[in-house]
C-alpha cells in the first residue's frame, strides 16, 4: 500500500458513540494511518503517542489507543504489532506474546521466596537493635497491654492475688534485686491464682507469677531466682524483641494477604506466646546469667534456684502436665541447674520467714 508496506484490518471506536467502524490501519511515514471505507474515519496517530490499552498475550487481539483521548483501535492480527513495534518502541513493555509464562512465574516465585527468606533471617537480627530504640514509655505501654491480654487469656477462675502483706514482700524482694543491677525499668509484679507452674515477663517490667510456681518452690530463694530470671528477660528486652519480630512477621503476612486490620491482634498473639512458651535457648541462658549475677550481688543463696531447676528436670520426665509449662520448650533444665550451682556464691536467705509465709498466703481470701 505504502512504501512502509504494512497494513491490517481493524475496528475503530471514536469514544463518543458505541458504533464500530471497520477501518484499515497502515503504517505511514508520520504515524499510524486509520481510514474507513466510507470516509467517516480518517486519522493519523503519531507513533510516539501510541499506547497499548492492555497487555497483549499470545492469540489475543491488539488494542491501541493514543496517549490521551477516548478513541480505540482493535486489530485482530497480532502480527501487525511486530511491524508497528520498530516505530513505537514504547509498545514493547505491554507486549507479552513472546513471554515465557512459566519461566516468568518461576522467576517471580523464586524472587518472592528469596525476599521472604531474607525477611525471615534478617528479622531476628534486626529485632534486637530495633527493640533497643523503643522509648521506655512505649515499652511500658506495650507491656501493660501484653500483660492485660495475657491475663484475659487465662482461665476465668484465676484471679489476681491481692494479699497485701505478700505483695509488699514480693515488691521488697524485687527492689533489692533491682538495686543490685540498676536498669531503666520499674518492675511491677502480679501474682495470679492459677495452679500452673509458670511465670513470664512482658516488656517494660511487667512480671506475672502464677501461684503454682510459689507453691512448688521449697523456699523464698527459689522464688528469688525465678524473679531475677524474669527481670533478666526485661532488662535484656527479650519480650520487646519478640514483639518486634511478631510485628515484622505480621507486616509480611498482611502484605501477603493484603489486610491491614491484623495489627490489632498482635498483642494478643504475643501474650499467648509469652504465657505458653519462652523466648529461646540463648535468651534463657542470658536471663539465667543475669539472675545469678543479681543473686550474687545481693548475697541471696542460689540453692533454691538450683533446686527449682532440679525439681523441674525430675518432673519433666514424668507425665504430670501441671508442671510442664514453664520448661516445656527447654528440656536442658539439668544443665541450667548446674550453671546456677557452679556460679552462685550467695549464702543469705532471700527474705524473712514471715514474708515468705505472707507470699504463700497471698492468694487466699
Amino acid at each position: 500500500m505504502t512504501a512502509w508496506g504494512a497494513s491490517a484490518d481493524g475496528t475503530y471506536l471514536d469514544g463518543r458513540t458505541a458504533r464500530r467502524h471497520s477501518v484499515r490501519a497502515s503504517i505511514a511515514a508520520d504515524g499510524l494511518r486509520i481510514e474507513s471505507g466510507d470516509g467517516a474515519v480518517a486519522e493519523i496517530w503519531p507513533f510516539a503517542d501510541l499506547r497499548l490499552v492492555d497487555e497483549v498475550y499470545a492469540g489475543r487481539p491488539v488494542r491501541l489507543k493514543r496517549k490521551s483521548g477516548g478513541e480505540r483501535l482493535t486489530i485482530a492480527d497480532a502480527e501487525f504489532l511486530d511491524r508497528l513495534r520498530p516505530h513505537a518502541r514504547q509498545l514493547r513493555r505491554k507486549d507479552l506474546r513472546g513471554a515465557n509464562t512459566k519461566l516468568r512465574a518461576a522467576g517471580w516465585i523464586g524472587a518472592t521466596a528469596a525476599v521472604l527468606a531474607g525477611f525471615w533471617f534478617l528479622l531476628p537480627l534486626a529485632a534486637g537493635p530495633v527493640a533497643s530504640q523503643v522509648p521506655l514509655s512505649w515499652e511500658e505501654g506495650l507491656g501493660r497491654t501484653v500483660q492485660r491480654q495475657a491475663l484475659a487469656l487465662m482461665a476465668s477462675g484465676s484471679r489476681v492475688c491481692t494479699g497485701r502483706a505478700g505483695q509488699r514482700a514480693i515488691e521488697r524482694l524485687v527492689r533489692r534485686l533491682s538495686a543490685a543491677r540498676p536498669s531503666r525499668y520499674r518492675f511491677r509484679v502480679t501474682v495470679v491464682n492459677d495452679k500452673t507452674v509458670n511465670a513470664f515477663a512482658a516488656p517494660g517490667g511487667y512480671i506475672v507469677v502464677f501461684r503454682g510456681l510459689i507453691d512448688s518452690s521449697s523456699g523464698p530463694d527459689g522464688l528469688a531466682g525465678v524473679m531475677a530470671h524474669e527481670m533478666g528477660h526485661v532488662i535484656e528486652r527479650h519480650g520487646m524483641e519478640g514483639l518486634v519480630k511478631a510485628l515484622g512477621l505480621s507486616f509480611i503476612m498482611s502484605a501477603l494477604i493484603g489486610d491491614t486490620s491484623g495489627f490489632s491482634s498482635i498483642a494478643a498473639d504475643v501474650a499467648q506466646n509469652l504465657a505458653t512458651s519462652k523466648f529461646g535457648r540463648d535468651a534463657e541462658r542470658e536471663a539465667d546469667r543475669i539472675a545469678v549475677e543479681m543473686l550474687n550481688r545481693t548475697g541471696i543463696s542460689g540453692r533454691g534456684f538450683q533446686a527449682f531447676f532440679q525439681a523441674m528436670a525430675r518432673k519433666s520426665g514424668t507425665e504430670d502436665k501441671s508442671i510442664g509449662r514453664y520448661f516445656a520448650s527447654h528440656p536442658a533444665t539439668g544443665g541450667r541447674a548446674q550453671f546456677v550451682g557452679t556460679h552462685a556464691t550467695g549464702t543469705r536467705p532471700a527474705m524473712s520467714d514471715a514474708d515468705w509465709q505472707a507470699i504463700r498466703r497471698m492468694c487466699r481470701g
Binding site: 463518543r16 497487555e55 517471580w108 489476681v160 501477603l256
Partner: protein, 379 residues
C-alpha cells in the same frame, strides 16, 4: 431489521441472545498475581493497589461481548488515595477517641472502683456509637466501590456511570441493617431487593440507564429454608454439645478434657455457619435470577440461569480453595468466577450499539474527588 424483503417483524421473531465471553487463562493471571505478591512484600503492602489494578485490567480485557472486550480504565494511584482517605475517615475517629479520651480497659481481676465503672460505661458508649458509624461507612464504601468500578469500566469506548448518593445509600443500608437485626433477619430478602434496585436503577451505560423492577416476590421461599435450616442446626448443636460436655465432665472431673471441649466449641461455632453458607446458596441463586429478570437496558433484557447447584459449585470450592491454599489460588478463584458469570448471564435482544452515546451522567465527578472512591482499598 428494516429491510423490505418480507422478513418476520422483529417483535415476533425470537430476539437474539448474546453471552459474555471470557478468555482469561490462569497461567497468565497467576504470573501477574505472583509479581504483585513479590512487589507488595517489597513495598510493605503499598504496591497492592497497583497490583489490584493490573489484575482488574487483565480480567476486564479478557471479558468480551459481541467480540469486543471490556476495558478497565482505573489507576492504582486512585485506589491508593482512596485507601488513605478511608484510613483517615475510619480509623481517625476511633484512634482519636481512644487516645484522646485516654480510655483504658480496667485490669481483669481488679476490683471495679467507681472511676473504672465510668471508664467501662464510656467504653461501651463509644462502641455503641462507633458500630453504626462503621456500618454506615461500610455501605457508603460499598456504593463508592461499585460506582468506581462502573465508572472505570468501558465497552466499545463507552463508559458506565452511576448517579445517586453514596451517603443516602449508606443510610439506607444502615436503616435496613437495623431492621434486619430487629426482625432476626426476616427482612433481608426485602432489604436486598431495595438495595439492589437502588444501585442498579441508578447505573448507566453510556447514554442509557438501566432499569430495575426488582422486588422481594418469590425470594422468601429459599430464604426461609436457609433461616430455618440454620436455626435447627444451632438448636441441634447446642443440645448435642450440652450432652457431650456433661459426659466429658463426668469422665474427666470438673475441668473436662480441654482438647475435646475446644473441639466441641469449634463445632458449635462452625456447623451452623457451614449449614448457612450451604443453604443460602439457594437464596443467592434465586436473587441473581430475579435481579436479571427484572433488569432492563433500553430494549435489552437479561437472564441468569443460575440454580442452587450452580451457586454451590461456585462458592464452596472458592471458599475452600482460598482457605486451603492461604490465598494462593486467588487467580484461579477470580477466573472461575468470571467464567461462571460469562456462562450464565444472557443478553436478550438487539444491542443497538450505534444508538448508544457517551455517558453524560456523573462524568465530571469521576476520578476527581476522593469521596468518589474511598473505601475501595478496604474491600
Amino acid at each position: 431489521m428494516t429491510n423490505g424483503t418480507g422478513e418476520v417483524p422483529a417483535a415476533l421473531a425470537d430476539p437474539p441472545v448474546h453471552r459474555l465471553r471470557h478468555d482469561g487463562r490462569s497461567g497468565e493471571l497467576f504470573v501477574i498475581f505472583l509479581v504483585n505478591l513479590a512487589l507488595s512484600i517489597l513495598t510493605l503492602g503499598i504496591y497492592r493497589f497497583w497490583g489490584r489494578t493490573r489484575i482488574r485490567r487483565y480480567v476486564w480485557s479478557q471479558t468480551g461481548l459481541l467480540g469486543e472486550p471490556l476495558e478497565y480504565t482505573g489507576r492504582g494511584v486512585e485506589l491508593f488515595l482512596g485507601f488513605l482517605f478511608a484510613l483517615v475517615l475510619i480509623y481517625g475517629p476511633v484512634v482519636g477517641l481512644f487516645f484522646g479520651l485516654g480510655v483504658e480497659l480496667p485490669d481483669p481481676g481488679e476490683e471495679l472502683g467507681g472511676a473504672q465503672i465510668n471508664t467501662l460505661i464510656l467504653f461501651f458508649a463509644i462502641v455503641l456509637l462507633a458500630t453504626p458509624i462503621l456500618m454506615l461507612f461500610y455501605y457508603v464504601a460499598l456504593f463508592a466501590a461499585y460506582r468506581y468500578r462502573i465508572g472505570r469500566t468501558s465497552w466499545l469506548g463507552i463508559r458506565g456511570g452511576m448517579e445517586g448518593s453514596a451517603w443516602r445509600y449508606g443510610f439506607l443500608g444502615l436503616g435496613l441493617g437495623f431492621l434486619n437485626v430487629l426482625t432476626l433477619g426476616w427482612t433481608k430478602p426485602w432489604a436486598d431487593s431495595v438495595v439492589f434496585r437502588y444501585r442498579l436503577g441508578r447505573t448507566w451505560f453510556g447514554s442509557g440507564r438501566f432499569e430495575s423492577l426488582l422486588d422481594a416476590e418469590g425470594l422468601y421461599k429459599s430464604y426461609a429454608l436457609a433461616w430455618i435450616g440454620t436455626a435447627i442446626a444451632v438448636a441441634a448443636l447446642f443440645a448435642v454439645s450440652f450432652q457431650l460436655v456433661r459426659v466429658i465432665a463426668e469422665d474427666h472431673g470438673a475441668h473436662g478434657s480441654p482438647f475435646l471441649v475446644q473441639a466441641i466449641a469449634l463445632a458449635i461455632e462452625l456447623t451452623p455457619l457451614i449449614v448457612y453458607q450451604l443453604l443460602i446458596c439457594a437464596y443467592k441463586a434465586a436473587l441473581v435470577r430475579k435481579i436479571a429478570e427484572t433488569l432492563r437496558y433500553e430494549n435489552v433484557r437479561f437472564r441468569a440461569n443460575v440454580t442452587f447447584g450452580d451457586v454451590v459449585r461456585l462458592r464452596i470450592p472458592n471458599i475452600l480453595l482460598m482457605a486451603f491454599t492461604l490465598g494462593l489460588a486467588y487467580p484461579y478463584v477470580v477466573l472461575r468466577t468470571a467464567r461462571f458469570i460469562a456462562r450464565h448471564v444472557e443478553f436478550h435482544g438487539d444491542i443497538r450499539t450505534a444508538a448508544i452515546g457517551q455517558t453524560g451522567v456523573g462524568a465530571p465527578r469521576y476520578g476527581e474527588g476522593l469521596m468518589e472512591f474511598f473505601g475501595i482499598g478496604t474491600i
